[in-house]
């Protein structure tokens, strides 16, 4: 359907007494996303944009995305946007917020960016308690460069640089940086969500909304991890990748709030925060 046909069809439905339940927010541009089919980035982008739309803060929002699959996020969000060097988004966001305290500032980073090359910037921005929102998309792999091992690649998981599976003796352990950040006094809200089902999307959106609302409180970093898929990197169909994610990523990266309103969330075992949560070994 051409654009005009779509608009015509929508108008017809409204004329027939239908009400609009859902349509793409205007805070996303009409640019076609460059992400692979079924990629969680698209859904996560949409949720962030919907939150900006619903809060009415499009004119006060500045986004930052660095190198990785989300490097061209600036084409999709209709807000002022900065593209950072690999790993440095939290440093940019720190200065944007400090020099423009009325702005809502968010970073949008992948696992290689936030948890490998940008570890120092991530930890120090969180530890300083910058009043920013950080969106962290964790799909356990370097997507943009062609599926190499990420800091979050699971033990046993095959990638372009771990062709026989991630081996702890050779490659070390998957990094649960979100748990690590929750132990820092500068983080106010730390949660892990996903976007593969309607129910997960609802929860993820509520988390992102909270993470943006928290900027008004000036109490520190609000950090939302989205455990996501990488169909191309995992070499699976999108639907199979979502299933594999639920079966293998979730046991290692448990979904739910870790820290809420500056306090460790209810039901969170303190042992998990000191990284003794058992890691599973996957075979893929």
């Amino acid at each position: 359907m051409a654009n005009t046909d779509i608009e015509q069809r929508k108008q017809e439905l409204l004329n027939q007494g239908y009400t609009e339940v859902y349509t793409k927010t205007k805070v996303l541009t009409d640019a076609v996303l460059h992400y692979c089919p079924g990629c969680g980035h698209g859904t996560t982008h949409r949720l962030v944009a919907e939150v900006i739309d619903e809060m009415g803060i499009q004119d006060k929002t500045v986004g930052v995305s660095p190198v990785g699959c989300s490097v061209m996020a600036y084409n999709y969000f209709d807000v002022d946007f900065q593209e950072a060097a690999h790993g440095r988004a939290p440093a940019l966001a720190t200065a944007i917020k400090r020099l423009n305290p009325d702005c809502f500032v968010f970073t949008y980073q992948g696992d290689g960016d936030l948890a490998a090359i940008g570890t120092a910037e991530t930890i120090h921005a969180c530890n300083r308690g910058e009043n920013i929102t950080m969106i962290f998309v964790n799909n356990g792999i370097y997507g943009m460069t062609g599926g190499q091992m990420a800091p979050t690649t699971l033990v046993g998981m095959k990638s372009a640089t771990t062709p026989y599976g991630r081996n702890v003796a050779l490659n070390g352990y998957p990094l649960r940086i979100t748990e690590l950040l929750a132990t820092l006094p500068g983080t106010y809200y730390v949660t892990r969500q996903s976007v593969q089902t309607p129910a997960a999307v609802r929860k993820a959106k509520a988390a992102i909304r909270k993470a943006f609302e928290n900027q008004k409180l000036q109490k520190g970093v609000s950090f939302v991890e989205i455990v996501s898929n990488c169909n191309s990197g995992w070499k699976m169909t999108p639907v199979a990748a979502n299933k594999w994610m639920e079966e293998n990523m979730f046991p290692n990266y448990p979904i739910g709030d870790i820290k809420v309103d500056g306090k460790i969330a209810e039901g969170i075992d303190a042992n998990r925060l000191v990284l003794s949560h058992p890691l599973t070994v996957v075979n893929k």
């Binding site: 004119d59 084409n75 900065q82 440095r88 940019l92 200065a95 944007i96 020099l99 120092a120 120090h124």
Partner: protein
């Protein structure tokens, strides 16, 4: 602070000039011999007076990227460091140049390579003007030779940075940074109002109003044809700087048989050597570079037309000399004299070098 006569260190002058010139933010990391810049700012607490933000970052990589983030909102943002720290910032500098973000970087040079020494040096000339990071880019580079110039060049840097949407580098060294001299302060320039920021930096990312498209700050362009067009645009900008913004000083060059070419600390030593030579009856002039990029090529050509030899005085193994030879097309006998690794040459050594390498 109104116009006053003060005594202070070069590093302190940088800090006070930042406050007085309406700088919005400073992000830095301690390193000898420039740590007094951030120390002075923290002691002055400008956030209580002008509203300037000052923050100690976790590394030079973080501080240069904080400069990127802050300056990309159209505000006047600066950092300072010394040679090893500036090396760490090279990634940030090429991104800043590629995204055309006006900002100020101060390098108070020390001796290298590697961790080197903490004493003064001028061995970062290549890094500063030949592109320390990747890609074809230039930083407008000012070389102060006194504490007064450390102070004044901060004001000049903001004019150039925003006129050309380009990072400006003040390339100083440990001698100028650490020495105390008198200087005249200037009247405060207030920080830009919101309206002034928006007028001076319409490209800035401060939140998209309904009546304009979203502003994007990036150095990424996957379409190589468009990237080439952008590179041509950058080069055209650099040619404009070469046409309009060259700065230098020619002393006693009219009747000179020989000239010293130098910048920063070395130019002051060369000046003394020039006076000593004149007392001995040798007609020596001094051509002092103030901008290293753009290099005063035509002006040096003009001055050097009638001289018999040029001695390049720099605290390095010979870096600036390459641009001097290019400017004169190697048509004049040109030699280098320098001490390095943190040693400052004496005027006597410079004069001896002139006599043995050029005149003999």
């Amino acid at each position: 602070m109104a116009k006053e006569l003060k005594l202070m260190k070069g590093n302190e002058a940088i800090a006070r000039a930042m406050i007085a010139s309406g700088t919005d933010g400073y992000f830095g990391y301690p390193i000898t011999p420039q740590s007094e810049v951030m120390e002075t700012l923290m002691a002055e607490k400008p956030w209580e007076s002008t509203g300037m933000v000052v923050l100690q970052a976790e590394s030079e990589m973080a501080s240069i990227n904080m400069v990127y983030g802050g300056a990309a909102t159209g505000k006047k943002v600066a950092t300072s460091s010394s040679s090893p720290g500036i090396s760490l910032m090279q990634e940030g500098l090429t991104y800043l140049a590629g995204a055309e973000i006006p900002c100020l970087i101060v390098n108070v040079m020390r001796g290298g390579p590697g961790l080197g020494t903490i004493q003064p040096s001028q061995s970062d000339y290549f890094q500063s003007v030949k592109g320390g990071g990747h890609g074809d880019y230039q930083l407008y580079t000012l070389a102060p030779a006194s504490v007064q110039e450390m102070y004044d060049f901060v004001f000049d840097a903001w004019d150039i940075a925003f006129k050309y949407r380009n990072p400006v580098l003040i390339l100083s060294d440990g001698a100028i940074g650490q020495c105390m001299e008198k200087l005249y302060t200037r009247d405060y320039i207030p920080r830009w109002t919101e309206e002034e920021r928006r007028a001076n930096a319409p490209w800035g990312t401060w939140g998209k109003p309904a009546n304009r498209n979203h502003n994007i700050i990036t150095s990424l362009e996957l379409d190589s044809a468009r990237q080439e067009v952008f590179n041509h645009k950058l080069q055209a900008k650099y040619r404009e700087m070469e046409k309009n913004e060259v700065r230098y000083e020619a002393l006693n060059c009219e009747d000179a048989d020989y000239i010293f070419v130098a910048y920063g600390s070395s130019s002051r030593i060369a000046m003394k050597a020039m006076q000593m030579a004149r007392e001995k009856g040798i007609k020596v002039g001094l051509f002092r570079l103030i901008t290293l990029f753009p290099f005063p090529t035509k002006q040096l050509q003009e001055v050097a037309k009638n001289v018999k030899g040029i001695l390049c005085v720099e605290m390095s193994a010979g870096q600036m000399i390459e641009d001097v030879k290019l400017a004169t097309n190697c048509s004049i006998k040109t030699e280098h004299f320098g001490r390095f690794g943190g040693i400052i040459p004496t005027p006597t050594e410079v004069l001896e070098a002139l006599e043995t390498k050029i005149i003999k």
